[in-house]
């Protein structure tokens, strides 16, 4: 697969303030990348930088091998062959659906234009709406028009700014699958911005987690979940709960039991925590002695019960007040029980003080 996008150490400043720093990533043709991060992390700025609305302060962007953008060599948005779907779709309110779609291909002959517009209208199931104006359409239809309009000039890269945030929660999943299939069918390379991790897992081939203008981790969603590379990534993806621990030799002590024979680069330190994913904890069935946690909140999920547990007997440095446990078993609020950590590949991170 050929490479469509190559970012090397991209940096962006607004008024001497660094907004993006040292962003490097590559994207192959047909891949879908999700930019994930809390609001203000710079993900929309990165999108705008790729589109050409924000100028580079450092680094370079290479599009499809032959187009190079660097601080000394800017290329106007209209010459980048990049399509964009805006969060509010930005459809031209004074033009019909068909006119919106044809907006970017006026250089083609009339018959070619018609051909392509009709093709897209059919592809996005918009044929019966071609003569309508944007305000006469539903939110989902407007989004499809925005997609058709962006695809019409056959861009090399499609950017989507929070594409699903305006869509009704019930329809969102269905729509994501539909659009993903469409992009795959067209072999379209795409980058989308979101702060919703579920969207990344449904829609993306790759995820880039961003934080404070930096790219923390880039990889397949499953890999990133399995092996987050820092506290922020694991925390933003809500991979599990954080509990304190003490290490002596290769024995690790927590409020809910001891793990022997731990290996790897674990070390004691200020504000270092062990990541416990829900699947790494289990209830010790039938134990009436040695209770170590108490149930302090119960919420119901479609898969069963989600219990928040707090340590009940641990000394202060090891105490914790929130550990997630999913179980079909019915427990009462305030009930004491014993849980233990299943042996697994331990993940330990330093919590920063934000």
């Amino acid at each position: 697969m050929s490479e469509i996008l190559n970012l090397q150490q991209v940096a962006v400043n607004f008024d001497d303030k660094s907004i993006l720093a040292d962003i490097s990533l590559r994207l192959a043709c047909g891949e879908i990348l999700g930019l994930l991060g809390p609001s203000g992390c710079g993900k929309t700025t990165l999108l705008n930088t790729l589109a050409g609305f924000v100028t580079l302060a450092g680094g370079e962007i290479q599009i499809d091998g032959d187009m190079l953008i660097s601080p000394g060599h800017d290329i106007a948005p209209e010459h980048r062959h990049i399509g964009m779907i805006f969060q509010d779709y930005a459809l031209f309110p004074h033009l019909t659906v068909a006119e919106n779609i044809a907006f970017g291909i006026t250089k083609l002959s009339k018959s070619e234009q018609n051909l392509r517009v009709n093709e897209l209208l059919a592809l996005l199931k918009l044929a019966e709406h071609s003569g309508r104006y944007p305000h006469q359409l539903s939110g989902g239809q407007q989004q499809r028009v925005a997609i058709a309009r962006a695809l019409a000039p056959r861009p090399k890269l499609l950017l989507l700014d929070e594409p699903f945030s305006n869509i009704d929660a019930r329809l969102r999943n269905e729509l994501m699958l539909e659009i993903r299939q469409l992009l795959k069918k067209l072999q379209m390379t795409a980058i989308f911005v979101t702060h919703n991790k579920d969207e990344v897992f449904t829609f993306a081939d790759k995820v880039a987690v961003m934080h404070e203008g930096k790219l923390l981790q880039l990889g397949k969603p499953a890999e990133v979940c399995l092996q987050p590379n820092c506290y922020q990534v694991a925390d933003f993806l809500q991979l599990g709960s954080w509990i304190p621990y003490a290490l002596s030799g290769n024995e690790l002590t927590t409020a809910i039991g001891r793990l022997t024979d731990v290996s790897g680069a674990l070390e004691n330190g200020e504000s270092r925590f062990l990541l416990i994913k829900p699947q790494d904890v289990e209830i010790c069935e039938g134990e009436t002695e040695g209770h170590n946690v108490i149930v302090n909140h119960i919420s119901v999920t479609e898969q069963g019960y989600h219990y928040h547990l707090a340590s009940s007997s641990a000394p202060a440095p090891l105490a914790f007040d929130q550990l997630s446990l999913y179980s079909p078993q019915i427990l009462a609020l305030g009930q004491n029980l014993k849980v233990q950590i299943k042996p697994h590949n331990l993940l330990v991170f330093t919590k920063d003080r934000h």
């Binding site: 948005p77 209209e78 509010d88 309110p93 907006f103 019409a152």
Partner: protein, 541 residues
């Protein structure tokens, strides 16, 4: 409906005041419709077609010229890197403060045969008589159109600029990504989207032109407003004047409908305003051209007339003028203060009534009391005379019957009728300002006091009024300024020997002796600046 707020006195006061404000216009229209048909036939066979053609021709010319001035100015300020943009942005609003009839007088002075421009040309080229050269005559219909456009184009400029600046940035960005340059995306996206705003501005300009009296009167261009004035004051023919006023009312009504329609079309504004990240970069020549264009408008519409006035004031002012100014100033102040205070009180009444009476018709008093906003001063004056003249006669007949001394024209012959006319004409300004102030008070605050055991009166005094203070002040100021400037209504309604600033200035203009009133004219301009300063302040936030 909130219980306890439907007190009878409040309800009756509100409805009666609102109906009272509407009544004169209805009376005038009825009188106009009820006028004998052969009067209309007579008018139609003699002067009416000319009046109508002149009125419409003037309106069309002013609209076209205002668009030619205002739209490019808005484009230059909102979308390009024109020089001095920061200052031009608000300087271009200043001509609004300049009454058109002042500009008309000053420019006539400047450009006519005996004026300095032609004298200079004759001296430079050795011409000796009008036959030697051609020079434009300002005192014509096109001349009036140019003058009116020079002071009315800021409506177009302001609304168009706001439309450009409030357009969704993403629409322009989408245009860029679909292959347009900054300039192309402006012309293919931003300009078409600003059309409804420009249409609103054009109808405002048309309304102002239809209402203009002093400029056309000075230039001796016969339009409907001058016809009303002449018919009444010249021939004392109230019925014909009423009929003409009704015809003018019809034109205004069409404009109002057009304006409302255009407003409804303005749904493209977004809450993500264009943050000016990308402007159209002009070449140095284009920049110079655009700059000269904008500066010319500021100079011609404001700086030059004001300069001429200041020069006159310096040369001719003396102690006698000052004392005269004090006298007329006092009169102006008196009627303006009465009008502003009463208008604001009534608007407050209508506003609170609408807010607290949650029945189906609670908005009606506010709406009908605002009908006067588009009505020209001359028409309102006719409406006042049509209503209060007969009322005065009736009062006098009654007094005679009872054997009392005749009170004279207590209503139509005193400043009562002027103040009343002002309230009818400017109620909409106060209504709008106060309604938006009331709209910003959360509805829960209407309910919270009751839940704390506080009654309606105390709630209004302790909660609503303090929160409304800024809107009340602004509304008062706006009405005050409009009342200070209003001319035609006062001209037609003033009691004998009663002069305000504007009537005095106008009188002096008619007598070609503005020098005597330059100070008063400057004062009118300065008052006119107040709302512009306020407008600019709220716009920049």
């Amino acid at each position: 409906m909130i219980s306890g707020n439907n007190s009878k006195p409040w309800l009756t006061t509100t409805w009666l005041s609102a109906l009272a404000l509407l009544a004169p216009v209805l009376v005038m229209l009825l009188a106009g419709i009820g006028a004998p048909a052969d009067l209309f036939v007579h008018l139609w066979q003699t002067v009416l077609p000319d009046y109508i053609i002149n009125t419409l021709l003037l309106g069309a010319l002013v609209v076209v010229l205002s668009l030619c001035f205002g739209v490019p100015a808005a484009i230059f300020i909102a979308q390009t890197n024109v020089l001095g943009k920061k200052y031009l942005r608000w300087l271009l609003l200043l001509p609004l403060a300049m009454p058109a009839y002042l500009v008309a007088y000053l420019y006539t002075d400047l450009f006519d045969y005996a004026g300095p421009v032609q004298r200079f040309l004759r001296a430079s080229f050795g011409w000796s008589s009008p036959a030697d050269y051609w020079f434009f005559d300002l005192r014509t219909l096109p001349g009036a159109a140019v003058i009116l456009s020079l002071v009315l184009f800021p409506y177009v400029y302001m609304l168009a600029r706001t439309a450009f600046e409030q357009q969704d940035q993403n629409l322009l960005r989408a245009g860029r990504l679909l292959g347009l340059s900054t300039r192309q995306s402006f012309f293919k996206i931003a300009l078409p989207l600003a059309r409804p705003a420009v249409a609103v501005a054009a109808s405002l300009v048309l309304m102002e032109t239809l209402a203009d009296f002093a400029t056309v009167q000075y230039f001796a261009v016969n339009t409907l407003t001058t016809a009303i004035y002449d018919t009444w004051l010249g021939y004392g023919d109230l019925t014909s004047a009423n009929a003409l006023a009704s015809v003018l009312m019809l034109f205004i009504l069409f404009t109002v409908v057009a304006e409302q329609k255009s407003r409804a079309g303005q749904r493209h504004q977004s809450n993500r305003p264009n943050k000016q990240t990308e402007v159209i970069v002009l070449t140095p020549w284009q920049q110079a051209g655009a700059g000269i264009f904008c500066w010319f408008l500021v100079l011609a519409g404001f700086v030059l007339p004001l300069g001429l006035l200041l020069q006159m004031a310096f040369e001719y002012s003396d102690a006698e003028q000052l004392s005269q100014l004090m006298n007329t100033g006092k009169n102006s102040l008196e009627v303006a203060v009465y009008a502003a205070t009463l208008t604001v009180l009534l608007a407050l009444l209508f506003g609170l009534y609408r807010r607290l009476h949650r029945d189906r018709f609670a908005h009606v008093p506010q709406v009908i009391s605002g009908f006067g906003y588009a009505i020209p001063g001359t028409v309102i004056a006719m409406a006042m005379l049509a209503t209060f003249g007969p009322l005065d006669h009736w009062i006098n007949d009654l007094a005679e019957m009872l054997g009392w001394q005749s009170p004279g024209l207590v209503l139509s012959g005193s400043i009562f009728v002027i103040v009343f006319a002002f309230i009818v004409r400017f109620a909409a300004i106060a209504n709008g300002t106060i309604a938006s102030g009331i709209g910003q008070i959360p509805h829960s605050l209407d309910l919270a006091p009751a839940s704390l055991g506080v009654g309606l009166k105390k709630m209004l005094l302790k909660v609503h009024l303090p929160l409304l203070k800024p809107s009340l002040l602004v509304a008062w100021l706006l009405v005050f300024v409009e009342a200070m400037k209003e001319l035609p209504a006062v001209l037609l309604l003033r009691p004998f020997n009663f002069e305000t600033l504007s009537t005095q200035v106008y009188q002096l203009i008619s007598d070609e002796m503005l020098e005597q009133g330059a100070l008063g004219a400057i004062l009118i301009v300065l008052f006119g600046l107040l709302p512009i300063i306020w407008l600019n302040r709220t716009n920049s936030h």
